[in-house]
């Protein structure tokens, strides 16, 4: 097949049309610009604008998270310059927590470097008797589960190309544990849409929730969603909430009882791992 060249100077006004035509058949959804622009210039501007103030409240959806992940993922910002920016601009627990979260990125890359394509399969056995189906259900893909929160998470993913980390965790737990879908279907869904979608952080975060890369599965309850979203969905929600209940009862419902972290068998070059 003859090489197809694409000009390197398409302005944003022409980008979607020209690139969309040139790459026809090689992408999903409409040809449109991303919610946040890519590139070194945009990345530096986003970095400069980020103060990191009150980052310590990052678990709240209203928290001051950086949204720099898509620039880090594509090398538009280096992890060192983001860390240096944080050290120059942030203080105290905001700084230490930001740097700790940034370190997750490096950790996932090192696991990928160490384990290679194995990260695309279960790194460990699930810590409960898991029976997962392979396909992403249509109602999830199309944001019509009927759950206002879950549908909003999918909408953020598909329309914005980005989700808050807490939304990623909730969505992953919902898909794997409540809907009994294999984490790889979620991984592919995120890879399709996330502007920061990669192999390492994406696959390994899914595995962390699934308990194939952690000592126990991650799950939440309605109170957790309500608290960290400031009730944005729960306050007006009228549906039968599958997340309602104490942790113990949800654990029984999802996993057949408490999942006790057992000592991990050695894998490769054994390290004694800690639990989160």
């Amino acid at each position: 097949m003859a090489t197809t060249f694409i000009p390197g100077d398409l302005p944003d006004e022409q980008l979607a049309q020209v690139l969309g035509q040139t790459l026809a058949g090689l992408y999903t959804g409409p040809a449109r610009l991303p919610d946040r622009p890519g590139g070194r210039t945009a990345a530096l501007s986003a970095l400069k604008d980020y103060s990191g103030k009150d980052y310590v409240g990052r678990n709240d959806l209203r928290g001051h998270v950086s949204r720099l992940s898509m620039y880090l993922r594509h090398g538009m910002l280096s992890i060192v310059e983001v860390a240096e920016h944080a050290r120059a601009r942030m203080r105290g627990r905001d700084l230490s927590e930001f740097l700790r979260q940034l370190t997750w990125r490096e950790f996932f890359l090192l696991v990928l470097a160490q384990d290679g394509a194995k990260v695309l399969g279960n790194l460990e056995e699930p810590k409960y008797r898991a029976r997962w189906t392979d396909a992403l259900p249509d109602d999830v893909r199309e944001a019509r589960t009927g759950l206002p929160c879950a549908d909003a998470w999918v909408t953020h993913l598909v329309q914005g190309g980005w989700m808050h980390n807490h939304e990623r965790l909730w969505f992953s737990a919902y898909l794997i544990h409540w809907r009994k879908v294999d984490w790889r279907a979620g991984y592919r869904f995120f890879r399709e849409h996330l502007l920061d979608g990669d192999i390492a952080s994406n696959a390994l975060s899914w595995q962390w929730v699934a308990s194939t890369f952690s000592a126990k599965p991650y799950f939440m309850n309605q109170a957790n969603i309500e608290k960290y979203s400031a009730g944005r969905w729960c306050n007006t929600c009228t549906v039968q909430c599958p997340f309602r209940g104490e942790y113990e009862s949800i654990e029984g419902q999802l996993f057949g009882g408490p999942v006790n972290p057992a000592p991990m068998p050695p894998r490769g070059n054994d390290r004694r791992g800690g639990r989160r």
Binding site: G8, R32, G38, R40, H74, G75, I79, L99, G273
Partner: protein
């Protein structure tokens, strides 16, 4: 596998491969050979079998575009192996410069390139690292305990170095 950086060595006809993790003019391989032409490939075989929404591709294009504003960049659609080989040939390259990428596909691509182009030397640059830790990893908590002081201290003694190695 890293070798001492070559300093003041004569540069042959160098070309650069920029991939999805190196979309900045500050990419180590790009900075190492500022006058060399660079190639970015939209991977047709991969995209044909993998669902990727358009905004992701546009985001990457915008990254390449910022590089192309400052130097010669060719953007093509095709198989990465074939396109890299054709690109090297177009420029009569003797050296291919690239920044390390941790995906399995990257390693396979370079091995394939070396088989097809035995006369082109491949030079690999290390991406920036937050820590100098290079041992095995299993759980984040254990990793964090090893690197916490370095990450929080930001001590220059541990600053990652941009390396270059011959393969």
């Amino acid at each position: 596998m890293s070798a001492p950086a070559r300093q003041n060595a004569p540069v042959g006809r160098a070309v650069v491969w920029i991939h999805g993790d190196s979309l900045s003019p500050t990419d180590p391989a790009l900075e190492a050979v500022p006058d060399a032409p660079a190639l970015f490939v939209f991977d047709r075989p991969f995209l044909a079998k993998t669902e990727v929404a358009f905004p992701r591709l546009a985001f990457m294009y915008q990254g390449v575009r910022d590089i192309a504003a400052a130097r010669s960049v060719e953007i093509v659609v095709g198989g990465i192996g074939e396109e890299l080989a054709a690109f090297a040939q177009r420029h009569a390259a003797t050296e291919l410069h690239v920044t390390r990428n941790f995906t399995p596909q990257w390693e396979e691509t370079l091995q394939d390139f070396e088989r097809r182009n035995p006369n082109v030397e491949v030079l690999v640059y290390e991406p920036d690292r937050l820590t100098s830790y290079d041992g095995p990893v299993k759980r984040f908590f254990g990793f964090w305990k090893k690197v916490e002081a370095e990450v929080l201290g930001g001590n220059a003694l541990y600053a990652p170095q941009r390396g270059q190695g011959r393969r």
